[in-house]
């Protein structure tokens, strides 16, 4: 747990102001940020998926009914049965099953230029994962289009190791 604080000095202080006093027209603020890092144990299935990303491989889990779930779940949501612990490789290319356009990206978005948030079903998978498509313009997007992953240079074992997906050229 860590806490950062810092006193913001008034922009145009006419002179030293004694602590606890504020001159008219001045606003003092104190930034106080509390953070608590939780640890998430991912288990063998999600852990296997994340390890695959580090090797630029996209892995899915096969359910007892034969469906391939990407990203993998530990238990088949239809039946509650555990999935096969041996993950199967899918993709790398996938099909956009639905999408929406983000015209004005915010600081926490994965790209700093307009992009699509899309559900992408990798080849060989029966489900789709949410990710970003770097298509340039909404006119370049359509449901059913084929996209390929653009991997980040230094993998970390997170889903953001795929920087974005691009329309197949």
């Amino acid at each position: 747990m860590c806490s950062h604080s810092g006193v913001t000095e008034p922009a145009a202080a006419p002179g030293p102001t004694p602590p606890g006093q504020t001159s008219p027209g001045q606003t003092r603020t104190v930034e106080n940020r509390l953070e608590f890092p939780y640890t998430r144990t991912v288990g063998p299935v999600i852990g296997g998926f994340l390890a695959g990303l580090r090797e630029q491989r996209l892995l899915g889990a096969r359910s007892r009914t034969g469906r391939v779930l990407v990203p993998p779940l530990e238990y088949d949501p239809d039946t509650g049965d555990p999935v096969d612990p041996d993950l199967v490789e899918v993709g790398p290319q996938g099909t956009v099953t639905t999408w929406t356009w983000v015209a004005e990206p915010k600081p926490k978005h994965p790209l700093d230029r307009p992009f699509a948030v899309a559900l992408i079903r990798p080849d060989g998978a029966d489900t789709a994962l949410v990710h970003a498509v770097d298509a340039g313009t909404p006119e370049a997007m359509h449901t059913g289009m084929v996209v390929t992953p653009r991997w980040r240079g230094e993998p970390t074992g997170l889903v953001t190791d795929i920087e974005a997906w691009e329309p197949r050229r």
Partner: protein, 381 residues
Amino acid sequence: MAERCAVVGVGQTHFTKRRDDVSMPGLLREAVDRALDDAELTLADIDAVVIGKAPDAFEGIVQPELFLADALGAAGKPLMRVHTAGSVGGSTVLVAAHLVQSRIHRRVLAVAWEKQSEGNAQWGLAGGRSGGIGAGGAFAPWIRAYIQRSQAPEYIGWMVAVKDRLNALKNPYAHLRIADITLEKVKESPMLWDPLRFLESCPSSDGACAVVLTDEAGGRRAPRPPAWIAATAMRSELGQFPGRDPVRPQAGVECSADVYRLAGITDPRRQIDVAELYVPFSWYEPMWLEGHDIAGPGEGWKIVDAGETEMGGAFPVNPSGGVLSSNAIGASGMVRFAEAALQVRGLAGEHQVDGARTALAQAYGGAAQYFALGILRSDPD
């Protein structure tokens, strides 16, 4: 007349400091699979799922029931979460039992857990502020008040700490295994919150517990002896109000009076064969003996002193090793009910109390303000 309710399956994970090898869903599923195996049922046989855990801030997952539905086999089924702070595991069993007793569902799975290693419970308890005093800091003044009121000698707390840890050596699921524990070792362990010493306090554990509850027909055809739920009671009060007695909270007094009345118990100390009480700090054993009128005012510590709460004593308390030996907070209340069920089913293994036919399960939470009690029996009538 309410439907009879039976516990036909009990499952626990091994309680330990960290379960880095499994995810939270995987942890729950271990307990669920063991409970279903015990009942010789599958997830497909379950009509509804009730879950309980302590505050979301402990692991930082809000509304965990949403992402756990897959692992609980709860897709398309009623899934309900109970939240009554530390007593939640007990309350979860009671809510599940009520769903059977009211004939809303025939087979209900109840699951409770905590994966304490994913967060920091002391920080979570402090509501996200630094410098929290922790549960021990909250309870210590009331324990001091109990000692002053009852004139109990200080070694009583040490005795409970030793007894529960020795019992834990007989329970394969218990977290703490302190084979060489002695009164001297407890006495010499560091003082955490006066009068509570390190070895008089519960550990932080990862773990889960699950029970399968059925109606009377399910209980009668269960593959192993069931535990019949003879009576349940829940009470709560505000954590602070003028005139409150936190040493012997009125909600606890009324909760036990209710559960004894419903079970036809007039002399709990004689009519109950074994009790699993929520004792996270040693002194809560004599305090709950008095707080639930098993012993008279100022008499609880004398029962401890006489060795009556030991495994071979007249009123065994926490043969499992109790919360003092395993504390996956959300699960701890359910473990009291699960262990009480194992005792009256005759399935408690090495820590079985001979001839146990009537058991008391108790859980408390918050500022000693939420109570969940149950009487479990070998016989349905």
